[in-house]
Amino acid sequence: MLNGKVRKLCAALIWCAALGLNNSVVASENNNRNAYSQPDGQLPLSQKLDFHVGNSFFRNPWISAPATTDARDGLGPLYNTNACQNCHIRDGRGHLPKSATDNSVSLILRLSLPAKNTAEKVRQSQHGPQAVPAYGKQLQDFALPGVAAEGRITLSWSALTVNFDDGDTIELRRPSFEISDLGYGPLPRDVEVSARIAPPMIGLGLLAAIDENTLRTWSDPEDRDGDGISGRINQVKLIGHETLSTGRFGWKAGQPSLAQQNAAAFHGDMGLSSRLFLKQACEPIQEQCLAMTTGGTPEVSDNILDAITFYTHNLAVPSPTRITLKNKGTLKQGRTLFLEAGCQQCHKTSVFTGTSSMPWLEKRLIHPYTDLLLHDMGAALADGRAEFSATGQEWRTAPLWGIGLSKAVEPQATFLHDGRARTLLEAIVWHGGEAQSARDKVLSMSRAERQSLISFLNSL
């Protein structure tokens, strides 16, 4: 919350408004490790209890069936982890294992087969990536006793150095993933593998409330305005519907709603069935997996799925850094550099939310620094794996709000889809494709300018 003095200062500096220093959107002020775990500031008290119930199921582990803990049993038989919070660490980001022997808990590998002909391409665009026989669409590296895990992930790094125009250099690291100890036979030669780190959970209900028409206005699939930025809406499957829906969530905007995103994560990451994914997450040849006791049908009750969905809609975005006499010069310069480089063409600074099933999320001026659209990010970042209308080179613009608190929440937090970037500057330098020109402008900045830009990003 702003005190009178700062508010006056803001009136003098128009950019305060765009920075989000507005009481109506301030949600929570908290720089400690729980900065991402606060309820939305506008959440009515009468609903806060639901938030806490959702939080509990998000945080606590699931166990194997049968168990006396009936509400929380049904884990696996194949899974990546046993609690949401293990990957979304304190509701924040995951990270790659520190060393090769570390357990890769906040990382998953998506698997698929490439679409080889028109029919397969159409199928992919309507139903999503093609599953790999015997493995499905995701590698589960844990299994209950008596069931073979699908494989083991080994991580290795290659380093590369990029030069700034002023002679400074930055070292980047590119991860590669090897899958060994395969539990169900060899993987096909042409298997597509895409590594994904858990994204932060803040402000998702507000992103869900951005009007579809706004996204359409922002999108420019053919780049008619010739600014080099296309911006496409991913059209994805909404379970139970024939026509495709607007994708918003996930690194490639492959999920249309938080309910479906959550149910998909329960299913794919923890092996838990829900009303949206009723079948056990076992492939036909995974006989032991299919033979195991389930935790009921569905394993995640409707109540619990709803509680989790409520929770994931209502995590507050921490308020931006207070503007002080000391930091205002730097932040103003950083903002100017951000705009001059053209970052805001995709990382949209401000938007009003539209309608929501949760009225307190409606008609809010928010500053998410994303357009939720797909952009070609160049070959260096590509995973080569299409997801509905997203190509192997496209990614959804990641929201930047609250990003400066990533490491306060989890010191090991990393950036970009596979967690390759240790710092925001590394993440910027990885940008390519439609973001090439913005990235090149950052390379041409002086060291002081780069620092201002990063300070600005950390203030959001």
Binding site: H52, T69, D70
Partner: protein
């Protein structure tokens, strides 16, 4: 002097005195100072009772009988009374919350500590779930060897939250509770843990093996608890330069009051009504019973809520029966709005009354004297409409109480009850 003048002077001075009294409003600083006094008293009492617990544990170890074991269990229950009242200090004061992981962490994978029933299911993927520290003088965690030959408070502190899993609770009240009661294998049926006293016997009487190490563990865990509580006692002690109390009182009245109220509301709504009651109802799971080995959860909830009421009234009664009283939020609010002050008083009383029903029902006392006991783990069993009603009433009164805590914040010019740490860019 004429009679009338004398009278007028007397009257005037009376009026003056009366005005003076009315015009001496409670100062926020005085309320905050008394708040720290309560914190100090609560942690001092918790520390003292933990020492008593240790005495009874020493008696148990000297002569392990059902009698000495039961006395230790009683001492544990008494030790919980002041500690549960201290939890209202957790949610705004990092110094308290950081220590909480060592003192009161829950739920725990009891397989980390000692033997468990054959069909025990630990938290899956938790490699600590079957570690059994008591049976193993060295532990191998994925190639990392941990020497547990000597079980000391320091070793236990290091083992707590092993591997980052919050279920790996090696220390605190609940670890001690497990060591005194053992697993509660009755599910949502009647009965608590049934550990025999001979688990602490030496020589041939020893049951379940490793009695020597179990004795060491119990004592070390209790000593660590004492150390931790003593640390918190000192953080809140008056006249100790650089301690938390000093920082807190110097942090500005509004910021400090925000912390006070935020922590009250957080315990009432998020933790007690939400995590400890509504989640337990949703999950119908005994794992959600807070004091699950001892079946003492009803008292745990009762004293949590009383801790919140203490902060409002400025009253705290120690285990020895002595009262601490001083300038309170209640005084402060009375100066602003007597109506609001009354509503708050009523709300805290209603919560305690509803919790008293829970306590009576759990113990089959008071109006339920003719019934059999129904502990919290039985109340949350699926289909227990009586239990659901009792818990639901408490939740409802806590929600109403929190609403009034928010109203109190507004009356004190606190616009938003959020944790108030300032970002440090």
């Amino acid at each position: 002097m004429p009679q009338t003048l004398k009278l007028s002077i007397a009257l005037l001075s009376l009026i003056f005195a009366g005005t003076l009294q009315a015009q001496a409003p409670t100062s926020k600083q005085a309320v905050l100072e008394h708040y720290t006094d309560i914190a100090h008293a609560v942690f001092t009492d918790s520390h003292t009772q933990a020492e008593e617990l240790k005495n009874s544990i020493v008696a148990l170890l000297n002569k392990p009988t059902e009698n000495t074991l039961n006395k230790a269990r009683d001492a544990w229950k008494v030790a919980r009374i002041p500690y549960q009242q201290s939890e209202v200090f957790r949610f705004s004061h990092v110094v308290v919350d950081d220590m909480e992981a060592q003192i009161n962490a829950w739920p725990l994978d009891e397989g980390l500590i000692d033997y468990v029933n054959e069909d025990y299911e630990g938290e899956l993927g938790n490699f600590g779930a079957d570690a059994n520290i008591i049976a193993n003088p060295a532990l191998d965690f994925g190639g990392t060897l941990i020497d547990t030959l000597k079980i000391t408070p320091e070793i236990l502190a290091d083992l707590n939250e092993l591997g980052g899993s919050e279920a790996n609770v090696a220390t605190g009240y609940h670890a001690i509770e497990f060591l005194l009661w053992g697993q509660d294998l009755n599910g949502t049926g009647a009965g608590a843990g049934e550990r025999p006293a001979t688990d602490y016997a030496l020589g041939e009487q020893c049951t379940h093996g490793n009695c020597e190490r179990r004795r060491n563990y119990l004592l070390a865990a209790t000593e660590l608890l004492i150390q931790n509580l003593s640390t918190l006692e000192n953080e809140w002690a008056p006249d100790q330069a650089g301690n938390y109390r000093e920082q807190f009182l110097a942090s500005g009245e509004q910021a400090a009051l925000t912390k006070v109220l935020f922590s009250m509301g957080s315990l009432a709504l998020g933790e007690l009504a939400g995590e400890r009651m509504k989640v337990a109802l949703e999950a119908n799971s005994t794992e959600d019973e807070h004091d699950c080995f001892s079946d003492n959860t009803h008292y745990s909830h009762y004293y949590n809520a009383l801790g919140i009421a203490n902060i409002y009234s400025g009253h705290f009664q120690g285990t020895n029966g002595d009262w601490l009283r001083g300038p309170s939020l209640e005084n402060l609010i009375k100066d602003i709005s007597p109506t609001l002050a009354k509503s708050l008083t009523d709300a805290f009383e209603l919560t305690q009354a509803k919790l008293q029903v829970m306590v009576h029902r759990a113990d089959a006392s008071g109006p339920f004297a003719s019934k059999t006991t129904m502990k919290f783990d039985q109340m949350i069993a699926e289909g227990n409409s009586e239990g659901v009603q009792i818990i639901g009433d408490v939740i409802e009164s806590l929600v109403a109480e929190t609403q009034l805590i928010e109203a109190m914040a507004k009356a004190l010019d606190i616009n938003r009850l959020t944790p108030d740490q300032v970002r440090q860019h």
